[in-house]
């Protein structure tokens, strides 16, 4: 357990905003600071990515502050869970006292997302993999799903439950992109437009604008702030691959080690978790990550999720915002996993509130199951 807490959390505008990246970043940061009862003058640490080559520097300049600590680690969607670890360490080492972790994207308004990913001709994958035109990252997850369903004799119809459950949560969240859009059926998922088999459009996360921010400070300072603090209990991470071919078994991910480290630091077991926010770039991402976190054994995730376990009212409340599949996915979703975990632990989640939630896990995944970072959060006592 660290001596650091999350004291502020907020989303920027979501969906289709027509706004700029830095305009959305400013919304996220100022709203999260207001939530904490702090101002920009209190901030001496910035962690962000996805703005420019100099992401944290860019945001610091834009906000008119000169931080004593920054981090712009680029690790896809898991970067923000990594930032929590680094920020906790920086605060404990007294290099920073108040850190803002933020992200925002206008990818839907700007139509900036490309199916093939970003071409960097100097990396080995450009010579040896990209000439074959895999969709990035989609085709990697599709191949992991193909292996998973084949090995365990499962069906796409069973995997569809991940998307169906996410939609049920989104129907309880007015901020969700699919709020008011009705329930999903198995046929809606399996019969949707095929993109990269076995995955269809309904197995894939949204492509939206959006983002958010969280504010961290010492547990001591947190006691005097506006909202009940949320303690950073533990964290862990793993980094595995950039290539489509270098991991021997794509169904066993770095989340295994990431989660084990985080749970050990927090002094908890998987049974202590009341609510889980697990990166859902694709339906298969959730199945693999539930197994990696230890909620079930390898090959059993589709048994675990069957029967409404992860839907509202189920025994494993998962992705209670509606997730990347039905709430918001701005390209890097990890910061919004943290925002939802904080709201659940504070009891602020409205119709989707998990009663009495005391321990939450947020697990981020980046790239092609490339980077994994786990954060355990708890309601401060």
């Amino acid at each position: 357990m660290s001596g650091v807490a999350i004291v502020g959390a907020a989303e920027c505008d979501l969906g289709v905003t027509g706004r700029s990246i830095l305009g959305l970043q400013t919304q996220a940061i100022t709203r999260a600071l207001a939530d904490a009862g702090l101002t920009l003058a209190d901030v001496d640490g910035i962690a962000t990515t996805g703005v420019s080559r100099f992401s944290a520097t860019q945001v610091a300049d834009y906000l008119g502050i000169e931080p004593t600590w920054t981090d712009s680690t680029f690790a896809g969607g898991s970067a923000f869970e990594m930032f929590v670890a680094r920020a906790a360490q920086a605060i404990e080492a007294r290099q920073a006292s108040v850190v803002v972790i933020s992200f925002a994207s206008n990818q839907r308004s700007a139509a900036s997302r490309r199916l093939g990913g970003v071409f960097e001709p100097w990396v080995p994958e450009a010579q040896f993999e990209e000439p074959y035109d895999p969709l990035y990252p989609l085709s990697y997850y599709a191949m992991a799903a193909q292996t998973y369903l084949h090995r365990y004799g499962r069906t796409h119809a069973e995997l569809a439950e991940v998307a169906i459950a996410a939609r049920e949560w989104a129907l309880l969240n007015p901020a969700a992109f699919r709020y008011g859009k009705g329930s999903l059926s198995v046929d809606d998922v399996v019969g949707a437009t095929p993109i990269s088999t076995p995955l269809t459009a309904a197995d894939c996360c949204l492509v939206t604008d959006g983002g958010g921010a969280v504010v961290l400070t010492s547990a001591e300072r947190a006691r005097d702030l506006a909202k009940a603090p949320v303690s950073v209990l533990g964290y862990g991470e793993r980094t595995t691959n950039t290539s489509f071919a270098s991991v021997d078994d794509p169904t066993v991910t770095g989340a295994v080690g990431s989660a084990a480290d985080a749970f050990e630091r927090a002094g908890i077991t998987v049974d202590d978790i009341d609510v889980a926010q697990v990166y859902d770039s694709f339906t298969i991402t959730v199945a693999l990550t539930l197994e990696a976190l230890g909620f079930c054994k390898p090959g059993e995730a589709l048994d675990l999720v069957a029967g409404g376990t992860i839907r509202p009212g189920g025994s494993l409340p998962l992705n209670t915002s509606g997730g990347g599949l039905s709430y918001c996915h701005p390209g890097q979703f990890g910061v919004l996993l943290l925002v939802e975990a904080v709201r659940q632990l504070r009891g602020e989640a409205g119709d989707r509130q998990v009663p009495g939630a005391e321990v939450a896990v947020a697990h981020g995944t980046g790239g092609i199951l490339s980077t994994h970072a786990t954060v355990v959060l708890g309601r401060a006592r």
Partner: protein
């Protein structure tokens, strides 16, 4: 047999030049270390033992087994026909390669199918390996 149009293939560098040179002669190679490890793509060091001075290119048999695959239905660039099959294939020498599967109905592929290397010539004298069924008959089964 010319069956697909690859995306742009960046030039070789000092580490990969030998591998690409062999492709011009339709020879598939893997990088092998004196410690016994084989790896792909070629690197400046051995990921098993760390050596930088005992890596050589060794001929590969040119056969593989489909490790996993996906049929892509939405093209990432203009003028690329769909559907097409992207796969990981496992060489008997050890390494796994990302590649294309051609020469059979996209819906007919299965994990574990045996495949053999084929070559798509590039304009610059190099060639890009892809894989086709070892036994075409296996793909007459219902997709």
């Amino acid at each position: 047999m010319s069956t697909f149009t690859p995306g742009p293939v960046p030039p070789a560098d000092e580490v990969t030049a030998g591998w690409w040179e062999a492709t011009g002669e339709h020879r598939l190679t893997v990088q092998a270390c004196g410690c016994g490890h084989a790896q792909h793509p070629p690197r400046a060091l051995c990921t098993a033992c760390g050596a930088t001075d005992r890596l050589d290119l060794a001929p590969a048999a040119g056969v593989a087994v489909v490790d996993t695959f996906t049929v892509v239905h939405r093209a990432p660039r203009p003028d690329l026909p769909t559907p097409y099959v992207v796969a990981r294939v496992r060489l008997p020498e050890g390494p796994v390669l990302l590649t294309r599967l051609e020469g059979a109905d996209p819906g007919s592929w299965r994990i574990g199918d045996p495949v053999a290397v084929a070559w798509q010539d590039l304009d610059d004298g190099r060639a890009l390996p892809y894989f086709v069924p070892t036994t075409p008959d296996q793909h007459t089964r219902e997709a």
